[in-house]
């Protein structure tokens, strides 16, 4: 599996998750969702727990982790500069 293939899976999962995150807030706010093939597999209290479990369940690494939140992150000093290095895809 190459990086492009992996990032495409992450992008597809992210797009899917944007559509369902609001419906997950009531029961899973603040948790980390493990996703594969545009489906939520399971929820974890920490992102590291989701990452480790993701590699156990999907050894090919083709999964992603999304935090159940609708609030964007503030990067402080760096949030106030012009170029943030976002993913432009």
């Amino acid at each position: 599996m190459n990086i492009q293939e992996h990032e495409a899976e992450v992008d597809r999962n992210f797009d899917y998750f944007q559509g369902v995150v609001a419906s997950l807030m009531a029961e899973h706010a603040g948790q980390h969702a493990l996703l594969r093939h545009q489906q939520v597999d399971s929820f974890y209290d920490t992102s590291v727990a989701a990452l480790i479990e993701g590699y156990k369940k999907f050894p090919d690494g083709l999964f992603s982790i999304q935090k159940v939140t609708v609030t964007p992150i503030d990067l402080g000093f760096y949030s106030h500069v012009g170029s943030l290095g976002h993913d432009r895809k």
Binding site: I3, H6, E7, V10, D11, N13, F14, S47, V48, L51, I52, G54, Y55, G61, F63, S64, I65, Q66, K67, P72, I73, D74, L75, G76, F77, Y78, S79, H80, V81, G82, S83, L84, G85, H86, D87
Partner: protein, 154 residues
């Protein structure tokens, strides 16, 4: 305890950090305490108490060959945009308080768990933002002389 010290330059607190790729096969349950010659990639990190989460530059991501496992929305001057997330091991080059060290009095302390960080644009000043997700577990002290210390607790 470990103590990271530095000097404020251009009103920025910069520290030397070490990064290492996260390997899912390796156990990740205990902090690693090793001498400073331990092989990690050394980068400069901006200590930023205003950052809710730590960050890593695209430059460091590329050099370490990291693979993203998700995205997070980040708000900034230009609006809110998704950024890729990466997990890796992060450590500090620091003084060990009551622990073995090398001839320069320095050692390397790696945080126990993989660090979750947001990718940011590369820049000349630093490759890592050490945010509140790490700093909330430390003591920090800034002095009028322009120096600072961060005490890390295991």
């Amino acid at each position: 305890m470990w103590e990271v010290s530095g000097t404020i330059v251009n009103d920025q607190a910069i520290v030397r950090v070490g990064l290492r790729e996260f390997l899912p096969q390796a156990p990740a349950v205990q902090p690693v305490f090793v001498p400073a010659q331990y092989q990690v990639a050394s980068y400069l990190g901006l200590v930023d108490r205003g950052a809710q989460m730590s960050a890593i530059s695209h430059n460091a991501v590329s050099q370490l060959g990291l693979t993203s496992h998700g995205k997070l929305d980040v708000t900034g001057a230009g609006g809110t945009w998704p950024h890729r997330r990466y997990w890796f091991y992060l450590g500090f080059f620091c003084k060990p308080l009551g622990r073995p060290h090398d001839e320069n009095g320095e050692t390397y302390f790696q945080l126990a768990l993989p660090q979750d960080a947001i990718a940011i644009e590369s820049n000349a000043g630093f490759d890592v933002i050490v945010g509140m997700d790490i700093l909330k577990r430390c003591d920090m002290n800034f002095s009028r002389s322009g120096e600072f210390t961060i005490t890390i607790y295991q």
